[in-house]
């Protein structure tokens, strides 16, 4: 068999494993006097059953990337201006709104940051978990309720029969976040987007929740996108990680590789600003300056004003994609020049 055909076959078999492939996604906010480039050409992919991290500071475009995946960017104001989002064989950005609704809550679900506000205060928990069941699985009455109970049990909510009829305010923060997870997972979606779901939880509750999601993920084979600024969570939960800065992915790689040999100075800075057990450091590293104003991103690499190793070239031109083997890559002149 000729080498080219073999290569082709390999690529196709790999392609079958890919659940989600994002290509050159751009989501902009159109404001009265400026255009805010929240997501500015993001590309990444998620394999079946894989957990992928999306890491960056606040305002780096993580959440807007996630909302774009579900085509739920804030209206009016934001718009997906360019790109492709391939979910299996379908480009989500070419779908009608009605086709898209069949994906939301069925094939892809989201858990948001704040469990205090992501449940509707005036409906019972049971009713809110039952909604996607009735809508997408077309189950009614007893059958639907049985599934809701199963989901609440799966996220280990004690006494689910009782909890079913209660309202969100009767739940603690951690329990609410489990309800939100149950709501998302009850239809057995192929992709779960977890948008900083543990930020507002206590550390112990946080650990419980992470363990729970990892177990559920392993049992069901759901792919997960973890959005976080916490590299500890990434290390614990993810196979791959994409580091975002100013609306772009600046480095992407396997978690182990990135922790061992971070290429981008921004990734290094992020890693250095995490306190490590058993190490003694005079002072925790902190990244100087502020993330750029997304309405006027500087020429060249947007990180250069804060980069300790910035060169003249960095101020002039955005660094090209430098492959680091496999699917790993980085956008940095240091790596590009060093080769």
């Amino acid at each position: 068999m000729p080498a080219r055909a073999l290569e082709q076959m390999l690529r196709e078999s790999k392609e079958d494993d890919i659940l989600l492939r994002v290509e050159g996604l751009k989501t902009y906010f159109f404001q009265r006097s400026a255009v805010l480039k929240a997501v500015d050409g993001v590309s990444f992919s998620v394999a079946q059953g894989e957990a992928v991290g999306l890491v960056g500071e606040s305002g780096s475009g993580k959440t807007m990337t996630c909302l774009s995946l579900m085509r739920l960017v804030p209206q009016p104001g934001a718009r997906i201006v360019e790109g492709e989002i391939w979910f299996k064989g379908d480009n989500l950005l070419e779908m009608t709104e009605q086709e898209m609704r069949a994906y939301r809550g069925h094939r892809m679900a989201i858990v948001m940051q704040d469990p205090q506000t992501s449940l509707n205060p005036v409906y019972t928990v049971g009713e809110q978990v039952a909604e996607p069941v009735r809508l997408h699985l077309k189950e009614r009455g007893q059958q639907a309720m049985a599934r809701v109970l199963d989901s609440l049990r799966a996220v280990r909510i004690p006494r689910p029969e009782l909890r079913l009829g209660q309202y969100p305010h009767q739940f603690s923060g951690g329990m609410r976040q489990r309800v939100v997870a149950a709501m998302g997972l009850t239809t057995q979606p192929e992709l779960l987007i977890a948008d900083e779901p543990t930020t507002s939880l206590d550390v112990t509750i946080q650990a419980q929740f992470l363990r729970l999601i990892r177990e559920l993920q392993q049992d069901s084979g759901t792919s997960v996108i973890w959005v976080t600024h916490d590299l500890g969570i990434v290390a614990q939960m993810c196979d791959r990680v994409n580091v975002m800065y100013a609306g772009r992915i600046v480095e992407s790689g396997r978690v182990r590789q990135i922790y061992k040999e971070p290429q981008h100075p921004y990734t290094r800075a992020l890693l250095d600003s995490v306190p490590l057990m058993g190490t003694r450091r005079e002072k925790l590293y902190q990244i100087e300056g502020q993330p750029p104003d997304l309405r006027s991103i500087p020429e060249g690499c947007p990180f250069w004003p804060r980069c300790p190793e910035a060169m003249d070239k960095c101020k002039e031109q955005y660094p090209p994609r430098t492959s680091l083997g496999g699917e790993d890559f980085v956008h940095c002149w240091l790596t590009e020049e060093g080769r």
Binding site: D114, T117, P132, L135, Y167, M183
Partner: protein, 306 residues
């Protein structure tokens, strides 16, 4: 729930007692009725006979106790001007005021709910501008002026509707519209801003993320939350319609409590004034009570604690 309602009832009674006392004091400080009902040049004797007939010659505390005692038995005394029992006057006139207020509120809600919701959902589009213009017009036209304009147009010029008085159903249209119009304006703003707040919330985003169609997202998840402030406002409005109707009832010669209030003040008919104010007050208290209970039904977060 029962305990909560019991407590609120007790509070309501306390409020009523306070109003009754205030009314008693006020109606005795606006001038001597005995003087009004005796001829200007009649002597001291005539005035004293009149005062004795009205019970005004007794010491104040005695008058007060008699007043409260009668009030408990729902006896508000007799009108000084025509001798008819005040309770009878009020019972006869209450339905007219009440229906008018209700029609006005329904009218206000029927316009402001859809306008406010559409204004919020289609923010900064022509739909929103229409809602804003309606709100502006509503708040800038005083009811007495609007009422007269409507009478001129619909009754005098076009002859479509009766100009005044209470008769068949179509006689309710003009006064109901006039009374509801100003309130509609405020409500459009309230519904719109309350809806905008709710639409920005995470649980609405979450409802969309479940794949629910927009009609369900807005009608089920957003509207019920947005209605809470509207409910409070409606109750205040319903109470205020009792006062607002004083003006509108005058304009349309509507045989309600508002008209008797004006007449009794002009005639210093203090038992009627007392009765009218007590009815206004009790109505306010009753509505507040009902709203608190409805609130607890709509929003499960409100607990039935004291």
């Amino acid at each position: 729930m029962v305990k909560y309602i019991g407590f609120r009832l007790f509070q309501a009674l306390l409020g009523l007692w306070f109003i009754a006392t205030l009314v008693f004091i006020l109606s005795r400080s606006i001038g001597d009725p005995a003087e009004v009902f005796t001829a200007r040049n009649s002597g001291v004797d005539a005035r004293e006979i009149m005062a004795a007939k009205l019970g005004l010659d007794r010491p104040l505390h005695e008058q007060y106790l008699k007043f409260i005692g009668q009030l408990v038995r729902l006896d508000l005394g007799d009108s000084v001007s025509n001798g008819i029992p005040v309770t009878q006057i009020l019972v006869e006139r209450m339905p007219a005021t009440f229906t008018l207020g209700l029609i006005a509120l329904l009218f206000a809600l029927a316009f402001s709910l859809p306008l406010g919701v559409l204004g919020a959902v289609y923010r900064d589009t022509p739909v929103d501008w229409v809602a804003k213009v309606m709100a502006f017009l509503g708040q800038s036209m005083p009811p007495f002026w609007l009422g007269i304009m409507l009478i001129i147009l619909f009754a005098v010029v076009w002859g479509l509707l009766p100009p005044a008085g209470k008769g068949e159903w179509h006689s309710y249209i003009l006064p109901g519209f006039t009374l509801g119009w100003g309130v509609m304006a405020g409500m459009v703003r309230l519904v719109r801003s309350s809806m905008l707040d709710v639409l920005d919330s995470d649980y609405v985003a979450m409802a969309r993320a479940k794949g629910l169609p927009e009609v369900v997202v807005i009608g089920k998840h957003a509207l019920r939350n947005a209605l809470l402030p509207v409910l409070t406002y409606s109750s205040l409005v319903l109470g205020a319609f009792m006062n607002g109707s004083v003006v509108v009832e005058q304009v349309f010669a509507w045989p309600g409590i508002g008209t008797s209030a004006v007449q009794s003040v002009v005639r210093r008919d203090f038992p009627v004034i007392q009765g009218v104010v007590i009815v206004f007050g009790s109505f306010f208290i009753l509505i507040n009570l009902l709203v608190d209970i409805m609130y607890a039904v709509i929003d499960p977060r409100i607990k039935y604690t004291q």
